[in-house]
Assembly symmetry: none
Homo-oligomer: 195 residues x 4
């Protein structure tokens, strides 16, 4: 693995483990077993390192979602698969998920907004599918984009509750996720197809 990737890998852990404020170039360097100075050969500064981290995480998520979609599927199947993919990514790559959603837009005026907002494409993907469902008559919503955000917000709630370990210990994780995602998707479909 290249040094650059090593640095990214270690940074990812540290960022999630200690937060952006306490993640330090020195600690990264130490863990990668390289001089602190060397990091600056690959990343201009701490902010740029964080940016790289976010970008790669978003790319990873987008990639996984893309792979969920198959041409033959109808809109509702796509919806379900997208939701599954999203949750799958969150639970199996919690560090990357956290990186995407931990860093708050207003905290980082330093970050080029257009790069950071690549994540919005994900929601637009969702919106497109909902739109397709409306066109095909299997769904009925007023504003596909708003509905996409509605669904996504709920899924995000489910994922973040699990990842940040706020679930009561008496509740088994998998059944909870299954029930919750089901609730989100079926609730949405039912409501929007019934009239």
């Amino acid at each position: 693995m290249s040094l650059r990737e090593d640095i990214l890998h270690v940074s990812r852990s540290l960022l999630v483990k200690e937060g952006f404020g306490k993640m330090s170039m020195r600690k990264i360097a130490k863990e990668v077993d390289v001089s602190a100075t060397s990091i600056y050969l690959h990343f201009k500064n701490k902010d740029e390192l964080l940016l790289a981290l976010i970008e790669s995480s978003i790319a990873h998520l987008a990639d996984i979602l893309q792979k969920q979609l198959k041409d033959g599927d109808d809109p509702i199947q796509k919806l379900e698969k997208l939701a599954d993919g999203f949750i799958y990514f969150a639970l199996n790559h919690p560090q990357e998920y956290e990186i995407i959603y931990m860093v708050r837009p207003e905290e980082m005026p330093k970050f080029p907004k257009e790069k950071f907002n690549q994540i919005r494409k994900v929601y637009e993907l969702l919106a497109d599918i909902i739109d397709e469902g409306c066109q095909k008559g299997v769904l009925q919503v007023e504003d596909p984009l708003m509905s996409a955000y509605t669904v996504w917000a709920q899924l995000h709630g489910v994922a973040s509750v699990v990842i940040s370990k706020r679930l009561d210990t008496r509740i088994p994780v998998e059944p909870f996720v299954k029930q919750a995602v089901d609730h989100v998707i079926q609730g949405f479909i039912t409501q929007k197809t019934m009239v």
Copy 2:
């Protein structure tokens, strides 16, 4: 206002704005316009200050939810009011909401878990109502506690998306929240009362 309250007030902003790691006693002191030393007359150390912040935020939320409930209401009305109260708190006291839900546990060292988990009482309140609904036959769920977490997780998703400004700028906030909360609650009720 007392110095103690000033400190809490300023800390609250800083904590939300910069995270626990970067919120510094000195910054707080400077903003309150006292010596850094003075903070230690009111709070033993940084951790205790954070604890006070969290405790007061949780108390505030609990208070608001309690006030939502009226004896005459049936379980479904209670459910709706509780959801409304939760969202109301999140949107009107975003800093306190963030302190409760967005400050990462990893960033808070040496934190008495039992105090932090007082928040779980809120979910048990929700579970009790769902349980009551089951007893009265207006709801049908297998595990009231898990269902409570399901509902709450989704509401949390809605709140946190708005608070952390992840909503697409083309989407008007209020309608979004209204639709999303409605979706969560109605979806839950519909699903659980049909069959």
Copy 3:
């Protein structure tokens, strides 16, 4: 006990336990269970507190030595008793002993030298006895004051080695002290009476 004495008592422990540098007015106040401010009602400042500590320790030592001497004793008996008294004080009041000998003259230009040097009277007491022995023909030394310091220096070595716990753990303390003191005194007497 008066507050003043409480403060002295606690200071004594802290001074010996942590050294002058780390002994703090706050810690004293806390241990005495009084406000830090209150100490200043009894002692002008930290230096004066230390001075009081030294003065009382020296007075205590002088008192014990005085009590060792009886009018009927011959010079050699007096010598032996003085040595015993000195060692007794050191081993039974190690805190006070340390206070007297821990604080180094040049470190404290703040302290009125004449007060601090009261301790020298102790050595002059010794010198007087040696002088008396010479007059009576039972001892023969060139310079009684220097001889007094010679004896005292050796006794101090023995005491300080024990107090500061530099003795090998395989060596039993009491026999060691007995042999060492005996060595100092008998060596001195033998040497000075022979020839």
Copy 4:
């Protein structure tokens, strides 16, 4: 001179002058005329700096004592030379002597005891010589180790009285030391060879 050595040099003075508690990294840095941070490039922290100071001082003393011993010497000559070497070191390298013997163990937190106790080898050297004297019949002692400590304790008394300037100003240093050391050694030999 290297920065590391400069730091050690300055630390040595400060440690002896102010004690470990009041010796500060910042003061050292200021005197060496570097940033405080730079010290941490050469020593992990304050404790490690102290450790280096002690280790080098002990090594220096051990070196000087070793050089005093010649193969041809008989045990009594060795004893005398060792005593001379010890006093020589104390009076000519008072700072190092103080670091070894006067810095109070309580002021040195978290200190690896085995390293600190390397100094005990010095006393075992002494004990070996006394033992050798016994074997050759020129000395008669019950416990060579205890006798070694007895001799050393008295020499230490002499050295420390001089170094810490507790000698009466009317007493000339050199004759005092000569008489005192002579007293210790001759007293010991006489006592132990007579019977």
